[in-house]
């Protein structure tokens, strides 16, 4: 079952921002029973994600779709008796997945929208109309040049548009 020493993967996770607390988990399942996503689908169970991670199942964790299903409601994190920062661990795992080129298409689309239009949700006639109804001023175009510079400086563009397997 083990593809590498379980602790190697766990150490990699604890070395990342948000992942520090993962080894505290004693599998009580409070996170799973608190999770609104787990209630609706069997595809995501935070306890199981952590279990797989601590057993060194890198591919199952980083290449599967589970980690992308977390709604970031922090119900789990609030209740965890071992103070595992469950939601933050999921973020850490997502960051690791992205750096490995495993990124769901929707996120690449978001990133592209941010780079090109300066916002995640594209503007539409409908939204413009709604804004006017609420008495909000029309939106100015975003300064995408400045944004591109910042995102380039942080390496965002390179990380987000990396293809799987690339180094």
């Amino acid at each position: 079952m083990t593809e590498e020493k379980p602790l190697d993967f766990a150490r990699e996770i604890t070395g990342r921002l948000g992942g520090e607390t993962i080894t505290r988990c004693y599998q009580c399942g409070t996170c799973a029973s608190a999770c609104p996503v787990t209630k609706t689908t069997e595809r995501y169970n935070p306890r199981q994600v952590i279990r797989l991670a601590l057993l060194g199942q890198r591919n199952d964790v980083l290449k599967g779709d589970a980690i992308w299903l977390c709604a970031s409601c922090y119900n789990c994190q609030e209740r965890c008796p071992q103070k595992v920062e469950v939601a933050d661990v999921i973020y850490a795992l997502r960051n690791m997945a992205i750096r490995g080129g495993n990124i769901p298409a929707i996120y690449t689309e978001f990133a592209a929208a941010l780079m090109n239009e300066g916002r995640l949700a594209p503007m539409s006639k409908f939204l413009e109309k709604k804004r006017a109804e609420y008495g909000l001023p029309p939106l100015k175009p975003a300064n995408t040049e400045a944004l591109k510079k910042i995102l380039a400086a942080t390496g965002f563009d390179k990380i987000m548009f990396r293809k799987e397997g690339a180094t």
Binding site: C31, S33, N45, P81
Partner: protein, 802 residues
Amino acid sequence: MEEVKVGVFLSDCGGQIAKILDFEALTKFVKDVSGVVLVARGSEFWRGQGLQAIVDAVKSKKINRVVVAETIPKISEVAIAKAVEEAGLNPHLMEVVDLKNHCAWPHIDTPEEATEKAKAMLLAAIEKAKLLEPIGKAEFPAVKAVLVIGGGAAGMQAAEDLAEMGFKVYLVEKEPFLGGLAAKAVRFFPTDDCAICIQSPASLTTVTQTSRKCVYRSGLSEIPNLNVLTNTKIVKVEGSPGNFKVTVERKPRYVDEKKCVACDLCTSVCPVEVPDEYNAKLSKRKAIYVNKLLVYPPAYVIDAKACKFHECAKCFQVCPTKAVNLDQKPEHVTLNVGGIIVATGFREYDPSVIKEYHYGEYPDVITHLELARMLDAFGPTSGVPVKPSDGKPAKRIVFVQCVGSRDRRWNPYCSSICCMISLKHATMIKEAFPDADVTICYIDIRTTGREHEYYYERAREMGVKFVKGRPSEIIHDPATNTLVVEVEDELLRRLLELEADLVVLATAMVPSEDAKELAQILDIELDQDGFFKEYNAKLRPTETKRRGIFICGGAVFPKDVPTASLHAHSAAVKAAKFLMNGKIVKDLKVAVVNQDYCGNCQFCPVTCPYGAIILEPKGDGHFTAKVSELLCEGCGVCVGTCPVGAIELSHLKSSQISAQIKALLSVNGTSKPLVLVFSCSECGHAAVDSSGMAMMSYPANVRVLRVPCTGVIQVQHILEAFKAGAQGVMVVGCKPDGCHYEVGSQKAKQRVEMAKMLLQAYGIEPERLEMLNLVFIEGDKFAEAAKTMSEKVEKLGPLQLS
């Protein structure tokens, strides 16, 4: 002063080490040392003929200082000291060196070098012996009386043990009745006894001597030396170990224990009703009350918060024996005791802070203690588990384990008894109500005690359901007045919504509310979780850092009753051992202050791990340190900390350390640079011993100087060693958290760091100095480090001292 006459006795361990060391050369060398008047060689000197030779020499006044080369000094010096004392010489005028394990064995490959090292070792012992002074004994009073704080299972047990051993005992309980937490628990595991059952005293004629009795008929109150003081709290503790003056406050009971006949007329007329705390507020009681029938003392008490006193006075009027006294006032009493046992127990954690479980908000979410009161046939619901919201019997009951324990947000530790409490209650319910639907939600079931696993087995056989998973939320459905427990069944990987009439929280067990205050009054430590801290978890589990004060039972950590009893027996034995002679006799191997140098600084009183040093006004506006001979353990941490050298040990004066440094470095006999090792007498020295015992070799240019604790070492001593010719210095002490004198090893580390800075400033390589923290089994590490240090200083070249 009498002329110093040293006798040197060289044991060759039955000829064993004579194969390595040249004893003729050693004898010749020793004979020429000034002050030596007698040199003898034999096969052993710590028993038999050898020891007799020492005794004869002492008795004939031929010698007045004894130096013995003998193996395992820790054992042999005990016998030699005893014999020397019986022969009429102060037993501290003696020095033992270990030529076998510290010289012959580790240097077996270089016998000539070993012989030269042996000379240095003997010279050091002789020079030290010449400076030794007699050390007297002192006697301190030990009052043969003990205060036991806490009248629960542990406290009652300890009090009974001590009283029967003939000590005067004061058993102080803050509540109006004895019994503590355990008395509320209905039944005990693993025997399923009644909770109010205790060990009965064996000495009373009319009490049958079976092992167990209810508290009220145990005869506990009738043991002649045992004074039970209920409704009483500790206010102040003064004095010293063996002779404490304890002030207690006796709260008014308003009912005379000696007159009350427990006829119950008072409660029948009392108009005030309040929730009954003893019954977890599940029922009501009157302002004048007893917890339950058959308690001790068998006398009513008035709840001062609820009673209307003279406004009503109905109880006073109706009492047939005139036992009610509404004008009673609190009373301060001073007790003189030699020892104190803390047995204040633990309590249930209030789980209302854990918002997702809604304790305190939903009435049908209760704790185990509340359930225990329901399951008591004499309790508020006569043994039936009910829903507190409507009083209807609870048919579906869910237990939640680890509530507030094993939880980093509240109490990180496992409370250790809650699994068993749940199993006990689950089986009790199933036994009485086989149709009841009982589910236990757990993370891990821990049944580690004797017979405990059988409870788990029995619960499964009886149909108790076990769900591996910790609930995330308890929801209340107002339409049906039902609780819903949300939990993931991890084994099925399925989310469950368990419907329940009653949810029972197995809460953490935490220290009693007044633990902190009491620890301050007694000046003893609490651990990180707030429980009373033992002196040594492995070897001295019922002693505290303060001599004469002992701890036991749930005050130390949550315990079941069998373990608490065991702990209480242990504390009682320790207290008895401490006081049994009626006096404390100790050698004055203590720190001594030189009043001329000492003044005004706070270093030693703050550093002393035993609180043995206080500052005393000198009269001219200045302060000097004063050492309590009773409290001082003679470690010398104060010596190491004193900036002006104003304090030294009676059993290892600064002059004796200096003399040994010089002597050990005066003879080299090897081609390598000398390395001096300061080792503590405890783990450090044991590590050096074990390297020798196992014949792990290291070079003979490494010399060992033993001190009581590395905490005694001043920066000055290290510099002195370099000045006297050491090219490298090592300090070997216990592990930082395993120091036999608490802080000595850590203090030594600081001083080594400071000395390194100084060395650098003088242009000396700081790597010539090193601190090691070793234990007995790490002799190999000592040998390795000694070798490395020797090679290192050889490579660095001779030390250039300007």
